[in-house]
Symmetry: C2
Subunit: 415 residues, 2 copies
Amino acid sequence: MEKKLKIGMFGFGCVGQGLYDIFTKTDFQAEIQLICVKDKSKKRSIDASYFTYEKDDILDNPEINLVVEMIDDAEAAYEIVKKALLKGKNVVTANKKMVALHIEELVEIQQQTGTSLLYEAAACGSIPIIRTLAEYYDNEWLYSVSGIFNGTSNYILTKVIQENLDYPTALKQAQELGFAETDPTADVGAFDPLYKLCLVVAQAYGKFIPPQEIFNYGISSLAPQDIQYAKEKGLKIKLIAAVSKVEDREITLSVMPYFVDAKHYLYNVENEYNGVVVEAAFSDKQIFIGKGAGGHPTGSAVLSDISACRYDYRYEYRKAHQQEAISYTRHYPIEVYLRYQDERDIADIDFYEISEQHIAKEFKYVIAVISLEQLFELKTDLPQRNIFIANTGRRVAREVLLGTLENKIAVSDFI
Amino acid sequence: MEKKLKIGMFGFGCVGQGLYDIFTKTDFQAEIQLICVKDKSKKRSIDASYFTYEKDDILDNPEINLVVEMIDDAEAAYEIVKKALLKGKNVVTANKKMVALHIEELVEIQQQTGTSLLYEAAACGSIPIIRTLAEYYDNEWLYSVSGIFNGTSNYILTKVIQENLDYPTALKQAQELGFAETDPTADVGAFDPLYKLCLVVAQAYGKFIPPQEIFNYGISSLAPQDIQYAKEKGLKIKLIAAVSKVEDREITLSVMPYFVDAKHYLYNVENEYNGVVVEAAFSDKQIFIGKGAGGHPTGSAVLSDISACRYDYRYEYRKAHQQEAISYTRHYPIEVYLRYQDERDIADIDFYEISEQHIAKEFKYVIAVISLEQLFELKTDLPQRNIFIANTGRRVAREVLLGTLENKIAVSDFI
């Protein structure tokens, strides 16, 4: 049964305009009633009658049955979305941070009010990963979901690794092309993919994990030495968000740079593209690749959600209702390449199974196993120490962490 | 609202057993009531009480609300599916040939009876391409959908090109691994991907095109010379099914070998994997890669459809209800590499814009533009003449076909 949509829109930036383009260029049947924007002085590309500056003009309007929220401010977005759902309106949002921070509460409100909260555009741009996980993999116990979730940082990594651009130039290019979010640290600091990972985990495992509980590490301390190292080994560096099963009902999560070789499915995912790899028992490995940044891909995802609202589609979070609870752990070993400047910077880090260490005046690194929990505890310190970390991608047996710390690196021995 | 499923299954081959495995190994809540099989003498891996040899034991059983059809015989499958739908039962099928041949009628019955006919497993194994096209791209006017839709032929091509296996050995390997369909000519003769293309077009464009109206050409006449040619140019040969927009409301279709270079997204899709590239105005290019053959990937797709039946999901074919009809044309130029044995074999072929011709005793080929319509007319003749054809993938302006035939190749001039 198709429903007539009367839309109240929040925000009219890059994505909002992309969406407006789609509305006017295709024969999609829905009505934009009102657009709420903040900046009164800004010139608008469409008729002034569309705009309001009062959010309640939309939220208190009983005619509007769908709120499309596309503003940057996560806290303001949260207030809008919460009120809209409580007022019985369906909501489509592109705000990953807001959803990630409040998903448990918002899903509860959705259940209570019988409304629908959709957020395909909040994760991986044009790749329909949320819908696919919600619908297609709703019965499968997934081994892992991992991928390049952030177009901006992938664009920068592509440029610095393949085209030898320096980091600031590459970042500037990404911003000029409109890929970078309003605050670039969300991208290069790996917060943007962190929020997206939370949404993916909610759908893939029915588990709501607060973003602040997850280790995320970006690419802002990437140095020419790291790039040189990767190139010499025939590797690329990709910022990868990953959730994977470690035990029967236990998962672990992280967002961090990885070394990937030419055989890896994400190796050729370049520039602003995103790529997602889903591994499952029965459907085996599947790869989804698509544009991850820019107004049109995101607008397209929003449109798809809007369209689904015509048929009262909602995410069911079926896996959240399964009997056996899934637990989340950071007590999990990973092997990392860790490049540092001064041995004092790593003196307080416990390494297990060191397989390589290189010490030169301008280039010091160690390749060793470390506990994700420890990285998590150090996560605010590491960037200040100008440490770059990349997961080697090699799987480590969990038992490593049970061993003694006798392998702990004693850097002074080497000097 | 979740519905209790009582399942009647037809067939218990590779896919059926894969599905049974999934049912027993996951906590999926549905009941297999009865399995209809043909061969009474065959030993079964599960209890005999599950089996019947009379199809009406299932079709006339009012308790059974879902028929899962997984038999090879397309005509028998058609009778089963039609009757099941008419009896008000939902149907999940993996039979691409049956659906492709009867889709228009079956969709009509689905509408009339309010039932649901789902066939994700009939196209591209574990890749959720049908659902994605049906749901996610239901508003977008797509530029093209193309891909490797057949795991068996891709496995063979991988082995003969990358591992220098000869064709019969590679085919035998594929059969031993259980990838090849009961009749291998369906795979290597490009019928299997042809049927899948029909399903994709139904979802992507809302257009029901009979498979016999489409040019399909397989890899059975592939010769060592063709492989050598591709390798020397750094190309791979992939069997690609494609639908693309040629004018505003006009599409063209084909299934044939293509040369692809290292930059092509399907270049690294190897072995039994399938890959699909969707190009759209707003979401841009998206790539889906996953296992295309084998019991578990297909079983997984069937399971996903079964799960959707619990929520009364059905394909809506929204694009079929759009006002402006889409037309299908074969009057479209493509550039091909055409390897032949004797000049008399190509004497009746009209070429436009010949860009290359090579004539040696053991290796003769021409690279030229040809009309898809002409290839279609010759399609049963070409294999008998032992001609191998590969699309070069270069796009040709449609106007080429409007020119005179003065460029027509006169092979005798060269000899």
